[in-house]
Structures are given as structure tokens and as C-alpha cells.
Assembly symmetry: C2
Homo-oligomer: 337 residues x 2
């Protein structure tokens, strides 16, 4: 059988079935943003791995080595944050062509180092190998929860509010701009620069998740938006065995994103729904706690917005700004095969 018939998620499920034996200390194996392992001290370790491959995930003509290093750390810190955990330490595997210049590596490590500092991670080791041609960076990050408080994809209940941090769509539009150097874009170059930067230097919501984990707010599930809002919401809902209404009019869009969409005739809602790599937290909360949560994020720096509601009926109803209700079937998003 060929890979494209199975798809990325079908493949992972199939491979997982070959893995034997699970110690009772494995609280969560394959299937969430991180795996979870219990520590003797009474809190949880979480672990995640994310790799970036040249020409698949990045293009050295458009990204600087510093940005590449930063992003490798940020995308993993985002998965740790999505579990309600704090990043602690990481190891990195570098696959580099023999022709690589040392200066390039110095700059890559400056970016790695800066991101480690920003997200509170210690890079404690790794492996360095040569590759026949393309660059490869694979990072594994470990984090710890506060006591046993864990946010997972499973737990959303009908009636819960759906919220997200930050804004959505910037990264996808930034990537689209990067990938069409020949196209004449209308609107402000500063807006486009901002969007590109959101793609190349994403942040990870480490402080925000810590704030939630420390609070008494009843967060019922969480995921980070990496594959795309529609697809990641789909993962969260299917793990929780519920559905949702998603409100287009409520999606938090940045000014540069809105402006660039309007000036270039792009459908902002569709792009926000399908585009990936925002690395924002998408989570559900008992509806009684929404006001309190929104109040606690006033003047905090990072916006948090309610974008919909969990429903008992499975599937996602996309409530358009014009009032039309559409049922989303297969949400768009990134699939590797």
C-alpha cells in the first residue's frame, strides 16, 4: 500500500498498533500534543518531538538560520504548553550537509539559544550527523506540569466555551506571501513583513498556559494550533467525542491580516480556518468561567477570545459572518502524504 492512501494520521494510528507493552507510568502515549509520564515526585513529565526538514518545512532562501533555530524550539514549546506544562529541557538532532559553513551553525545556535532563554528551556544535548543533501533539525522537549494538572485534547463537554489565544491566520498568509515572490501584493509592505515574521518566528504560549494552570479556571481541554484551526479543533473534538459551533465573526484576526486579505481579495475566514502554524492555544472552558477568564487576561498582553461553543452533536458547524451555517466535513490543513 502507498502512503498517500493512508495519510499522516492513518499511518500514525497503524504504527502505534505495533508498539507493545506500556508501563503503568505512561499516563498518555501516542495521541495528544505530548506523551505523559509520571515522575516519582508526584507531577507529570510531558514529552514531544517535532522535526523541521529543509524544502518541506523551510527554505533557506527565505528563512535566516537564527529564525530556524528559534522556530525549532518554539514549535516544541507550543506542544508542551498545550498540555498545561512548563518547558524544562530539550535535546536536538542536527542533520547537516558536509558543505555547511560553521558561521551558519553559529547563527542557528544563537536562534536556538534565544528561544531557549525565552521559553525557559535548557538545551542539554543532542546528536550531530551529516546528511547527503538536505538540512534536518529534530528537537525533543520535556516539560513538567504543576502537580498533576494536565490539559489534554479529551475533556470538552457540550456547553463549554471554545477560546483561543492570540490571532489566527497570520502565519498561513505569511507563508503564502513568502511562496509567491513574483506576485504583486497590494497593501502595506509593513503588514506583509509582520505576517512573514509570524510565520518564521512564531511564539509559544508558555506564560499563558502557566497562568491558566495556576488558576482555578476550569479548562476542560486544550490543543495548540499547528495544523490549522479547523483541523486542530477537529482533533480536540474527536478526542472529546463532541462537536462545535465555530463563529467566523468572532475569530481574532490581526490588523495586518485583515488589511492584506481585503486589499488582495482573499477570504479571511477560510484562510484563518485552513491555515496552519499559528501556535496559539485552542481550549475549552466551563461556560460559567468565561467572564472570569476574560477579565484576568485584560491588560495581559496576549488577547484571549471566545470563538465558539461545544455541542453534543458531533461535527463542526461553521457559523459564517453573514449568518449562514455550514457543516465542515474534512477540515483543510496540512497532511504530510
Amino acid at each position: 500500500m502507498d502512503l498517500d492512501r493512508l495519510g499522516e494520521f492513518g499511518l500514525i494510528a497503524r504504527l502505534a498498533s505495533h508498539i507493545p507493552h506500556r508501563s503503568r507510568r505512561v499516563v498518555k502515549g501516542i495521541g495528544d500534543d505530548c506523551a505523559v509520564y509520571s515522575q516519582p515526585g508526584g507531577n507529570y513529565l510531558v514529552v514531544t518531538a517535532d522535526a523541521l526538514i529543509e524544502s518541506v518545512h523551510f527554505d533557506l532562501n527565505t528563512t535566516t538560520p537564527e529564525q530556524l533555530g528559534w522556530k525549532t524550539v518554539a514549535v516544541n514549546a507550543s506542544d508542551v504548553a498545550a498540555m498545561g506544562a512548563a518547558p524544562r529541557f530539550a535535546v536536538v538532532t542536527l542533520g547537516i550537509p558536509k558543505t555547511t559553513k560553521v558561521n551558519f551553525l553559529d547563527r542557528l545556535y544563537k536562534g536556538l539559544g534565544r528561544a531557549c532563554e525565552a521559553f525557559g528551556v535548557d538545551l542539554v544535548g543532542g546528536d550531530t550527523v551529516s546528511t547527503p543533501e538536505h538540512w534536518m533539525l529534530s528537537l525533543t522537549m520535556l516539560g513538567e506540569t504543576r502537580k498533576k494538572r494536565l490539559f489534554t485534547r479529551k475533556g470538552a463537554k457540550a456547553g463549554d466555551a471554545i477560546l483561543m489565544t492570540g490571532t489566527v491566520g497570520d502565519s498561513a498568509l505569511g507563508l503564502q506571501i513568502l511562496k509567491s515572490p513574483g506576485k504583486k501584493w497590494s497593501g502595506s509592505p509593513a503588514d506583509r513583513k509582520h505576517l512573514i515574521q509570524r510565520h518564521l518566528e512564531p511564539t509559544a504560549r508558555v506564560k499563558e498556559t502557566a497562568k491558566l494552570a495556576k488558576s482555578r479556571l476550569r479548562v476542560t481541554s486544550m490543543i495548540d494550533v499547528s495544523d490549522g484551526l479547523g483541523q486542530d479543533l477537529g482533533h480536540l473534538l474527536s478526542a472529546s467525542e463532541v462537536g462545535a459551533e465555530l463563529w467566523e465573526a468572532s475569530l481574532p484576526l490581526s490588523k495586518p491580516f485583515e488589511n492584506t486579505c481585503i486589499k488582495n481579495g482573499l477570504e479571511a475566514g477560510e484562510l484563518a480556518l485552513g491555515g496552519g502554524e499559528d501556535y496559539e492555544l485552542l481550549f475549552t472552558l466551563k461556560s460559567e468561567d468565561v467572564k472570569k477568564l476574560l477579565r484576568s487576561f485584560v491588560n495581559y498582553g496576549t488577547p484571549v477570545t471566545q470563538i465558539g461553543e461545544v455541542t453534543a452533536r458531533q461535527g463542526v458547524v461553521w457559523v459564517r459572518t453573514n449568518g449562514r451555517r455550514q457543516t465542515l466535513r474534512k477540515p483543510a490543513g496540512f497532511n504530510h502524504f
Copy 2:
């Protein structure tokens, strides 16, 4: 500057200098077989990463997918064992060309699964990405020490005995056989098959290290033999700031290795010293404990052999079987650049 001027180890040292901030919980960062992190419960977590790249580390014409899966786990378990720790859990990053057949991946995961079972590891997650052309497998493994008992490269003292588990050289000779399909080899085909298997399906000395960690034997330092006996002994000695005498006549050689060397006019000692990927434990022990240790390994299944002695004077003196004493300068071994 080009990479080949710096070399693999020069590069790692340089990159490490860019990494900021170390939490007090980092007991050991870059520079040993694993990094070490303290757990709240009072024992240590150790972590290591090792990647295998197609056409650099393996060739799909000569290795089966099962063997590849097995080896990916074994080489990491060996690094964990070299710290005196027990493997616990792992995450794997798979980089696969889009044309890969699902059947190949099923077989790879059978090998991964079997090795996880053999070494007591839970594979709890990973990442799956497509690559432009070559296969890539990167595994990160976590282990735990028994209380705070840790074996590191640093700690060997003049007068200590140098010992190793198993036999040395098999894997390097197996690789040499694999790489010369046109060559007419003399000697027994069964011997050659054994050597090839030692290269493709190495074991990791997980049980042996557990036995040592549980004992009262005063192990003073340890490393696993991955780059080659000469090179890895060099790492251990320089971390400990001592030297050694290494006794060629005492090197534990397997019958298939000795026979194949003799029949094909190969210098067994040189090959054993320079060849890599044995994944045996190389360690030092207070000399008063040698007898007790050797007794405890009688009838154990895995041979343990004294192969030399730690000296105050730095450098390695290679005592040849014919009595000649040579000072080893730059021990041979694998360097990626």
C-alpha cells in the same frame, strides 16, 4: 569556516558555547553519553538522542527494516546504559520519502517494538514528516538511575582497572564485509554472517549496567563503545584527565572475528581498536574490586574482561601482543565531517 576544519567534536564544543542559562536541575549538560536532569523524587533522569540517516548510517540494500528499527532503539539504549541508568521511554522522529511503502513501515515498527520490549522502553510518541529523498530516524530516549548512582566519563583514577563487556571489533568487520560485496572473503560464511549481524542488530548492555549499578562494586567511570574503542577510551580518559595502558593481548575477540581476520590477513588488534559500533560498555573499576566483579560475571552470559589500566600520565600506551609499546596519538574512529 568549513566544517571539516573543525570536525564533529570541535563543532559540538563550539555550538555548546552559544547555549545560555542552566537550571540547577541540569546535573550534566553536553559532554557525556547522556545529559542528566534531577527529578523531584530523588533519582536522575538521563536523556540521549541518536539519529540514523540513510546512506550515512545505513543502506536499505543491506539492512532490513526490522533491523533498522531494532538498531535505532539499541544505540540509544546503549547510551542510557553507559550512564548506569535503565531505559524508560522514547520518542521517535521519522523522516520518510513520499514513495515509501506502508509495508516497509510496518516492518520497521516491528523492529522498533521488539527492541523496546527487549530493553524495557515505552515508545510514547514522535513525529512523522516527509523528506525530499532520504530516510531519517531520530530517537530520543529517557532513562532513570537507581537513586542517585550515576556512571559518567569522568572519575577514572590512576591505578583503576579498565574493563569492557562483550567482544570488540565484530561490528566494524561486519560493516567492512557488507561494504565489499565484490571481494572474495576466505573463511567460514557463518562467521561472516555473525559479524554482519553484530553490525546490523547490536545489543545494548542494559542488564549488565543494572547489575553493576545495584552492586557495591566501585565503578569509577563508564562510556559505551560507539565511535571505536580507541576513540571512546580517549573520551573517557580526557574527561577523567588521566591516561591508560591498553593491552592488545587482552582484548576480547570473538571466534568469528579472529578466524575472519586470520583467514584474510587482517590486523585484528588495529581493527578492534579503530572500528566502531560495538555498543559494549567500557568502564573503570577500583583495582581491588576486579576479582569480585569477574566472579560475579562468571556464568552470567556476557563476558567481562580487563583490557588495561589507568595511568596518571596522560595519553594511551598501546601494549602490543609482541611486547612493543606504542603511544596512540589521534585514535582512529568515526568523524562525521
